[in-house]
Amino acid sequence: MAAITLIEAVNAALAYELEHDQDVVLFGEDVGKNGGVFRATDGLQKKYGEDRVIDSPLAESMIAGLAVGMAAQGLKPVAEMQFMGFIFPAVDQIFGQAARMRHRTRGRLTMPMVIRAPFGGGIHAPEHHSESTEALFAHIPGLKVVIPSNPSRAYGLMLAAIRDPDPVIFLEPKRVYRIVKHEVEDNGEEYPLEACFVDREGSDITLISWGAMMHETNIAAEKLAAEGIDAEVIDVATVSPIDMDTILESARKTGRVCIVQEAPKSGAVGSEIAAEIAEHAIMSLLAPIGRVSGYDTVMPYYKLEKQYMPTVDRILDEARKIMEYK
């Protein structure tokens, strides 16, 4: 058992499934010989061969559409979009085909496929390499959208995603690909999808986030603790369908909610969480539901990205405001 980073955990989970399930096949741009531009698939082609870890031509709709065809034949394709910013040519196949095939055939053809994509800002990348557009996928019925926030969750959730009989969009927060290491046992044990993780129990305020922002959110919770504010911290992890019970229970308990997301504010996953709380737990609330998020503007080029993304300070400001609300 070794301490590994989030990206190493992704690699380990992919390797585990390639090893144990002959139906698993990986493909995408540069995933083979080069091992992916972030090295998520490093060494896998060498180990499992060019038939199972395939360098595809450069075409995202094709990548997603191939996954649909292969999944219908009972394979378990795991396709990579090199960056989430380049997934748009593929959404026609993802929204119109992958998400619907089971439904439209009354369960005759199923889509046990995964689409992986690194996403989010903070690594000084060029345009289109830093967006967080998970909300688009979360709005489409028939998909599952999973976002790990740390190495052990990346390992366990990736295994679950590959084994899941339905299409999973697996978004990897690339800013935290390498910032922490976890001891992860490579034992093939999956984590449940559609389940929040409670990172910290608390009674004063509920902080809700997912992906890379869990990092800032957990730091903020610690700082709040030092100020005497006892925050509960929830990692949503599967942002669609959401484990709303855990969230509502916490909101009812603390009566104060602050949602943290990197994506633009409007029409995002945080909006849905706030709306559900406003529908099912509103009368337990002691303060308005706060949202700390990216702005409703284009993700700027990197000179301004720090100013775009939520920081520990912005979370603290909002949490304190919510705490002070009477």
Binding site: V25, D51, S56, P57, A59, S61, M62, G65, L66, A67, V68, G69, M70, A71, A72, Q73, G74, L75, P77, P89, D92, Q93, G96, Q97, M101, R102, H103, R104, T105, R106, G107, R108, L109, T110, P141, G142, K144, D164, P165, D166, E194, P241, I242, D243, M244, D245
Partner: protein, 361 residues
């Protein structure tokens, strides 16, 4: 290394029977088997009768929008006949002929166009795709299916069909391109019926042929007379054989004419030239095959009448099955969305069922 030719290409056109049912070259063996040819004629007649019935059902409010195959029957029946059970069909909305040939029932097809997903839960053709409505997506699915077959070392082919208008979509090109690179066992049928709803070929492409689109994918592309079922079937058999045996993909442009409206929702008289259409009627595929059969003493007026009666009965019985099929219940909006319905969606299912019960009262 000065100015020189680095690649050259030719597109060939194939025809066996002309509009009068006369052979234009030495016929393939199957064309001399009159039982075979009679049964193909019957398949086309069934398709045409089914289409007419489906039209009538739509017109009387018993079914939704429907795209007929009038004039294009030789295509779906031709390549459908070249398929085996083990091959996989990835149809588009105008693949009725091939679907029927591959074991999908008339009832299923009616259910589909009648707004019921049950129609895609094929009883026989278990691996075939449902009808693809978003144009050109199916081309890539076909490549994906063929890739799965290739990975398993199976001698099977995957076939798909697209309209000539659909060849303008990026997915068409991405799909044939990857089929070329990976040498996939795909048969790509292009139904060139001259129209994409109201848009004629001149507005769809600057190409002289649709077959030449294959050149951009480095794959074989050919043209056939799509009104000549012998040409369609002969070329399809070649392509399927090749696909099943590691020979890679083929694109077949079948040239025909859409003698019907685009769908029941369309009115072709707004854009189609009646004199052109009249001319096209002279080339339609059934008359020439009948002439060929008659010339070979393999078909009579009596055959025609008894076939028509049989077919009418078959179609009617399918329509009865269709009409007797139970209406879908509200639970079907939810029960096949995922393997398991998400917790957060369960209350919605309950609410919908409660409303249904209420509504039923």
């Amino acid at each position: 290394m000065t100015t020189r030719t680095t690649a050259s290409f030719e597109i060939k056109y194939h025809q066996y029977l002309d509009a009068d049912g006369k052979a234009t070259q030495e016929l393939p063996a199957f064309a001399k088997d009159m039982d075979k040819m009679r049964s193909l004629y019957r398949d086309m007649a069934l398709l045409r009768a089914f289409d007419a019935k489906a039209y009538a059902l739509q017109r009387t409010g018993k079914m939704g929008t429907f795209p007929a195959s009038l004039g294009q029957e030789a295509i779906g029946i031709g390549y459908g006949d070249a398929m085996t059970e083990k091959d996989v069909l990835v149809p588009y909305y105008r693949s009725t002929g091939a679907l029927l040939k591959h074991g999908v029932s008339m009832k299923e097809i009616l259910l589909y166009w009648g707004g019921n997903e049950d129609g895609s839960d094929y009883a026989v053709a278990k691996e075939d795709f449902p009808i693809c409505v978003p144009i050109a997506n199916q081309i890539i699915h076909c490549a994906g299916v063929a890739k799965a077959m290739q990975m398993r070392g199976e001698k099977r082919a995957a076939a798909t069909e697209i309209g000539e208008g659909g060849t303008s979509e990026g997915d068409f090109y991405e799909g044939i391109n990857v089929a070329g690179i990976w040498n996939l066992g795909c048969v790509f049928m292009v139904n060139n019926n001259q129209w994409a709803i109201s848009v004629p070929t001149e507005i769809q492409t600057a190409c002289e042929t649709y077959a030449q689109k294959a050149i951009a994918a480095g794959i074989e592309g050919v043209q056939v007379d799509g009104n000549d079922i012998i040409a369609v079937k002969q070329m399809a058999e070649y392509a399927f054989e090749k696909a099943r045996n590691g020979g890679g993909p083929t694109l077949i442009e079948a040239i025909t004419y859409r003698l019907c409206d685009h769908t029941t929702a369309d009115d072709a008289s707004r854009y189609d030239d009646p004199t052109v259409k009249e001319e096209a009627w002279k080339n339609e595929p059934m008359v020439r095959l009948r002439k060929y059969l008659e010339a070979n003493n393999a078909w009579t007026e009596v055959d025609e009448d008894s076939m028509k009666a049989e077919i009418a009965a078959e179609v009617d019985s399918a329509v009865k099955e269709y009409e007797a099929h139970p209406k879908p219940g509200a639970e079907l909006m939810f029960d096949h969305l995922y393997a398991e319905l998400p917790e957060m969606t369960k209350p919605q299912r309950e609410a919908a069922l409660a409303l249904q019960t209420k509504g039923a009262k």
